[in-house]
Symmetry: C2
Subunit: 459 residues, 2 copies
Amino acid sequence: MQSTAHPELDRPKPNDDRLPQVVIIGGGFAGMMCAKQLKRAKLGIQLIDRRNFHLFQPLLYQVATGGLSPANIAAPLRSIFRRQKNVRVWMGTVVDFDAAKQLVHLEDGTSLPYDYLVLGTGSTHHYFGRDADWESVAPGLKTIEDATVIRRKVLSAFERAEKSSDSEEIARLLTFVIVGGGPTGVEMAGSIAELSKQTMRYDFRSIDPTKARVILVESSKLVLDRYHEKLAKRAGKDLRELGVEVLNETRLAEILPDHVVVLEQGVSRPIPTETVIWAAGVKASPLGRTLAERCGVPDMVDRGGRVAVQPDCSLAGSPNIFVVGDLANFTTADGKSLPGVAPVAIQQGVYVGKRIAAMIQGRPTGPFRYWDKGNMATIGRSHAIVESGKLRLTGKLAWLAWLFIHILYLARFENRVLVLFQWFWNYVTRNRTARLITGGQVITGGQEARLPEKPASNP
Amino acid sequence: MQSTAHPELDRPKPNDDRLPQVVIIGGGFAGMMCAKQLKRAKLGIQLIDRRNFHLFQPLLYQVATGGLSPANIAAPLRSIFRRQKNVRVWMGTVVDFDAAKQLVHLEDGTSLPYDYLVLGTGSTHHYFGRDADWESVAPGLKTIEDATVIRRKVLSAFERAEKSSDSEEIARLLTFVIVGGGPTGVEMAGSIAELSKQTMRYDFRSIDPTKARVILVESSKLVLDRYHEKLAKRAGKDLRELGVEVLNETRLAEILPDHVVVLEQGVSRPIPTETVIWAAGVKASPLGRTLAERCGVPDMVDRGGRVAVQPDCSLAGSPNIFVVGDLANFTTADGKSLPGVAPVAIQQGVYVGKRIAAMIQGRPTGPFRYWDKGNMATIGRSHAIVESGKLRLTGKLAWLAWLFIHILYLARFENRVLVLFQWFWNYVTRNRTARLITGGQVITGGQEARLPEKPASNP
């Protein structure tokens, strides 16, 4: 049953051939937890990811604003599964599936056979049909590279403003527009406000960084509008106290090199800026659609690319194929669709791990049930909102709860002590030590220029 | 006296115009220390650097091997000089000088006037006339980007070997050639040996990373041959015990995509490898030559681009222009040329700061005198060699001395506690948490491919 175009890979040990093979695509929360759950199962697990590390995405905004280093929130997948001998990590890109032969095709031409398949490749940004022109000017926040691009853009804007003597240019450079008032947008806006008004307060000689404008554009009446109205209102108030200009019921109409156009209740207004950060929309990984098509159920994919799954997270008609995390569209018994958040991904990963282990042993399992422990979002250095059932917290107490829970989650990583320590350090000193402008761009006068592969010796 | 092509920049405050202006180019050890030394001087300091951070270069090899994050060894220049109000930091690239008008020209078309000029733009790699073909395949270790490129190359080689079923390819991928047995080469070789033989020992399923070959190519009889023979021999022994193959009296003849050719006492031998790291030669920043030419003393520049300086570190014929650090060729009273190491740069920076302060007050100063406190180099996780006068240390004790002194030096940075903590953590766990493959390249099958600006959603 070998295809010549995609020869099957030699498996590590001949004995493993007799064990059922689980292929997990994506080492995010869902995929990682699924593999961990199968720790004691007698099977072979192939975990495929394009990157060599698992990323703790909820803290990515801290990297984007110089509070943490990439390594603080990323752990090598090989390190995570070092002692779990039934897991094999593949660094590679999946491009297609063969449902009949039960094969996963990788970009490099090799194929991996599966008995069970778990797809958890998550989501990326969505610019509402403007991907082609907006993606390059308004970076979103999904990967380490996204975070360092945003860090570079934000810090470079201050550097360029410091060198300018044109007051209009300075005002434009010191205006930061964040599109989208969900948790990511709120966290970014709060962090940039703190960066400019506290961390870098005394760092410049020509400009006054505390005069920087941080503008959060949100189309609905309140930021964080999935939360209880009281909390959402409090979040808006906290943001404004940090100095963020919150524009509610406002839409982004256009992004141009030196300004954006916003629509406030139908009235358009230009805002001069060169730094726009996208936190407004996500779309699912295209692999979901590919898989659904190959399995003969293309109608399971919604417009955003998410794959509707069965109560056991499997694909309709393919009980051995599971879609988990942000890529899955799971409808609960009361008809609600689960949101694309880390807790859902984690619980689905664990569930599918248990489900596969049970299937191998011929045991039945119940359907997946999401236990909603609550939601939380931070607003700057010492405020947050927390909602868990009827419990609603705001302010410092909520921030402490947020901190506690994130440290607990980071217990998956070996470097949790380091992260805690770095945070504590930043908190005490109000400093952000990871404020580095690195990578492809350096400032040369008024605009950014590409660095040569080897920088010349002016350090 | 304004040139129309390079209009002089408005200075921050009108009052400053009456103060003498010191322009320092390069925020490395020499430039940074010079500016710090002038803390209480009544003058205006313009510190120009292409990057927004000072880099603690001696620990760059730790970033290249995943032990530390870039932010652990870099500190934003603005942060360093936040409270020193007479310093203004410019992020920019100097391209030329006007000696008659006392102007420094920046790439963006602006110019800065100086009364005193300090040039400390350091050095970059030198491939002995093979820059054009070797620079792109054998990265050196001078910048943060160099370090992340090397980290990516080394880690990717293991990932590719894990996926390969061709034993020759695996052997080639697991061979790392380091060219040059000076401190950087020895530190890199020791670190890569530890990475493969200890840190990643249990991380792979197909390959045995402990079988990786780390080959150090050195043209002289001993590695670290500037040290006392006893120490140099001990360093070679320590390296071999770590599993490094040390090739003495061996030269690199050729670098090709799948192998290098070495010449051992005239006999050439191919070594299959795809990862070559350059630690063999440096050349001075080209700005030294430009400055010497503009000041009418082009013969002060040696073949390596270093500028011969007077006993007070000034340029011949220009008592108000100083060249410091790796870029300067300082000949001591007994006819020796000072090496391009951090302590020389630090002491020259401090001296020139004092010299300028004295010149302004009309006080005389003696010539620069280098106080050689000694030299040290690490060999892996717990060995080092230290030489200070007649004191010679090896092994664990030397390593502790090395650690202690580096922590002391890092006292210039705000994040010294963090670095110490991260080191301690890595030491205890034998782990390297910064083992991330990030940036422009991901692995796709047998070769590296460029990542699109926006990675697709397969995470």
